[in-house]
Subunit: 531 residues, 2 copies
């Protein structure tokens, strides 16, 4: 039975129901792993002096002239060699533990250096989905990935990461989550020869990647990484989470407990498809299951140990949790002869809740899927949806929640897995006060906070990740660091001067990749219907 | 006596006081040049069918594969040779006429091709002030020109224009027009070694340039071009035009008529200085007068014919008008022995009114300064300030305005010179309906409209200027042309990756140019006090 460390501060609740941020620094966990009663407000103590200690920063880190030492993910750095738990060999003998076998007990406070590096790595994979996403209304390929699979990691600045993309994932426009897909292309003339090269309704939603042979040797197993994209609109999609939870089984996930329910919007996005669309004639679900099954089969067949690591930020976190549940439920991580099982782990960022107590039980206890949720205590997204949509689960004893669930009371959403709570206010790089709530939710900011996180009540001390990355798509760094807000942009929005002197948007060379022909085969192997 | 074609449509007035746009296409001018009574509303006729003819566009211009033929200013175009009135020799024999000696009679409808080319050229000079202006809050040199004088024209894309910048013009922050100077630098650390390289209060406000020997031969005279920058904020500065008009003489301009008044904000910006600032210890006025005097003296001394051509957009138009008045009033355009006088002409864009009726009389009749004002009939800036600030001058017979002025009634602003009225609705490239009023005011849009302008009620037909330029800093092109709005921008806002992999704003090499040592000398020659 896994102890759930699932306390979060919610700024949306009346004061008496909120937990002081300090409580997050001292979650009540038992080392024996026995289930703990959810914390009640009365048991929280505010220990401001200890929070302040965490806030006292090492100014030297700001002015250090040393090059970044362990900058996982910031790998395209010329002659500097990457140092991390991967390259110095620490990960390989401990990968299962880092992958959550022991629910990360003893690894969070103080934080295990190798674990921190892995969290940042998978966070970079989630960030890559954003960096690659073309959401320019004037682009002919609005909604697609700007970079093709073969050069994907190099193009997003993760050259040398040691993975190769094997498949992109696509979802179709989802009526229930209209803000997720993003803007559609402004205008397409009827005779546009490019019309066949992209779709009006498909959206690049993530990728599946595999560790190279060299990386596999370094990390002790073949890792299949699945990364899901979050939203590029600010936070409007949160308002779309109004549907009642529905049984996972209703969406085709072979969960035997029809009381295990999930938020419908996520599930519809995950399982929706458009038979008329070349990219979405398979649902995202079918794409990821077929790909995971294929890869697990392939590498288990070679006698390798295999892991499945799923990641995502925000809405992508919900998709990560849902798809990890699905992979385990469907058995895509199990070799066909049943002999070997690849462990499934989720490293999520800024994630909302996904399902009810029965879903949590099924995921954690019966399927054995491990989930580590990185959150910022000031971010509101991890607080939704709640119990009866708006109430925090920790306002209710677990027994009550289960009863409400069993009685079919409706929306009783609870978090899964283990939480690693960060606080942006402890970083001297970030604005202490800003009205821009989206900053609290920003993924690069979370990676920055991870880089400086040493443990509860320990000093924030950067380990080398470039703080300037925080402002790629946010206005979160303090002005004195002289980094422009939202700085990541193309010169002249991609306009170039043609030979005749006119400014034009050049056509982007685009290779069209069809779904692999063996997709149906693998789906059938999993007991799913072919398209 | 010059006929003033000064009708403008004002959308701010009650319907009965507004002139139909069509009236602008048929201004009532007399060929004899006798002064015309200001148009009363009853005399306007709407001729919609003729307007619509102008609106019917040549679709072929959109899809033409021909290279731009006569694209004055779009000169950095590789192997294509520039064709214009300058290079084909048409301008040289006619330069005085083009320079406004005859008040452009007979040159506006149909528009004289050589004149159109000149208007676009000087418009490009005004545009260059914007393109060069560094208004990035995070730049150490916020407020300065991004490009140094020696490479200025090349850097703004006007390589081959045939002029050389001889001096930059600077103004100090002006309390009365706070929106003009633009944002100040966000933060400067106390020990910033760059602090000496720029100023907290100075602002790049324009330049003085001279035609090269080669260009001089082409255009028939040595041309001294003065360009003034407009505002980079949208239109907030218009609200700052609330000061009462004051005699030009109050600002040191040696105008004998103390009833000739100008808008105070413009004049204070023009004459303000900060003795403690290296760049603003001379006022903009002193800088431009000293420079014009020096250059006129130099080239008259060589026996050359010399012209002074002043240009500016928006607030820059007001500075252009005021400085041209000043140059003539002070005699900076006259060789010291009084032998030769360089004619002074203003080509202005989207300009507000500058002074009262006595100012107009002094400028036009007594000083002989020629002004051609290019406006968009839908732009509100040329409608301010008005009579008693908000009323249109054309609501009043001229005699009434003069009487009001002579009686010292206060704000009686009138336009000067000759107007060339354009209408953005006749271009098929531009959005017919947009809530973004700043579009109507946009300079690149005016240059586009000039490029297509053939004459009143004549078809809009582009002569080769790239329509994509319209959207450099505006969202004005129709979507179907697939040009992103506001596309001119630096890659990653100037951030670059250093050797160690960190993203940084690189220090910009900056040469500091002091004011020429002979500045005081020339000011004294003009009868102005030395600094």
């Amino acid at each position: 039975m896994m102890a759930g460390i699932s306390s979060t501060c919610t700024n949306l609740l009346p004061v008496d129901l909120r937990l002081p941020a300090a409580a997050l620094l001292f979650p009540s966990t038992t080392s024996s792993g026995a289930s703990s009663t959810l914390m009640s407000p009365m048991r929280c103590e505010r220990r401001p002096h200890q929070r302040r200690r965490g806030a006292r920063l090492v100014a030297s880190a700001v002015t250090s002239t040393e090059p970044p030492s362990s900058v996982v993910g910031d790998m395209e750095r010329g002659s500097l060699a990457e140092k991390s738990g991967r390259s110095d060999g620490q990960l390989a003998p401990r990968w299962r533990e880092i992958h959550g076998r022991g629910n990360w007990e003893g690894l969070l406070d103080p934080i295990d250096t190798v674990l921190r590096g892995e969290l940042i790595r998978y966070g970079e994979f989630a960030q890559a989905c954003y960096d690659a996403f073309d959401y320019d209304r004037f682009s002919r390929y609005c909604g697609s990935s700007r970079y093709p699979p073969p050069t994907f990691f190099r193009d997003v600045g993760l050259d040398g990461v040691g993975y190769e993309v094997t498949r992109f994932l696509y979802a179709t426009s989802n009526a229930r989550l209209p803000n997720f897909v993003g803007a559609r292309r402004k205008h397409r003339s009827g005779d546009d020869p490019d019309a066949r090269l992209w779709s009006e309704t498909a959206s690049f939603i993530g990728f599946v990647a595999v560790s190279t042979d060299e990386e596999t040797a370094r990390i002790g197993r073949r890792d299949i990484a699945v990364a899901w994209r979050g939203t590029v609109t600010r936070l409007e999609w949160v308002a779309d989470l109004t549907a009642a939870p529905r049984p996972a089984a209703d969406f085709g996930i072979p969960c035997p407990d029809h009381g295990a329910k999930v938020e419908s919007g996520f599930a519809e996005l995950y399982t929706g498809k458009d038979p008329s669309c070349r990219w979405c004639r398979y649902s995202a679900r079918e794409q990821v299951l077929a790909e995971v099954r294929k890869l697990v089969d392939l590498y288990h067949g070679r006698g390798e140990e295999v892991s499945v690591t799923v990641t995502g930020h925000s809405l992508g976190s919900a998709l990560a949790t849902l798809s990890a549940f699905d992979v385990a439920e469907t058995g895509a991580n199990v070799s066909p002869d049943g002999g070997r099982t690849a462990p499934v782990c989720v490293f999520s960022f800024s994630g909302p809740r996904v399902g009810n107590t029965r879903f949590k039980t099924r995921l954690e206890r019966e399927l054995g899927v491990k989930v580590l949720r990185v959150v910022n205590v000031h971010d509101m997204v991890p607080t939704v949806p709640g119990v009866l949509y708006v109430l925090d689960e920790r306002s209710f004893p677990e027994a009550v929640l289960r009863l409400m669930d069993n009685l079919g009371m409706g929306a009783v959403y609870v978090h899964v897995g283990v939480e690693l709570a960060l606080d942006h206010k402890v970083s001297p790089y970030l604005k202490a006060e800003t009205l821009d709530l989206a900053c609290f939710h920003n993924l690069e900011a979370h990676l920055h906070l991870l880089d400086g996180y040493q443990g509860r009540a320990r000093e924030f001390r950067l380990c080398g990740r470039d703080p300037a990355l925080v402002n790629k798509a946010a206005d979160f760094l303090r002005d004195e660091h002289m980094v422009p807000p939202v700085w990541r942009q193309d010169a002249n929005k991609g306009m170039v001067r043609a030979e005749d002197g006119r400014w034009v948007l050049p056509p982007r060379h685009r290779e069209v990749h069809d779904h692999p022909e063996d997709t149906d085969h693998h789906l059938q192997q999993l007991g799913l219907a072919a398209n």
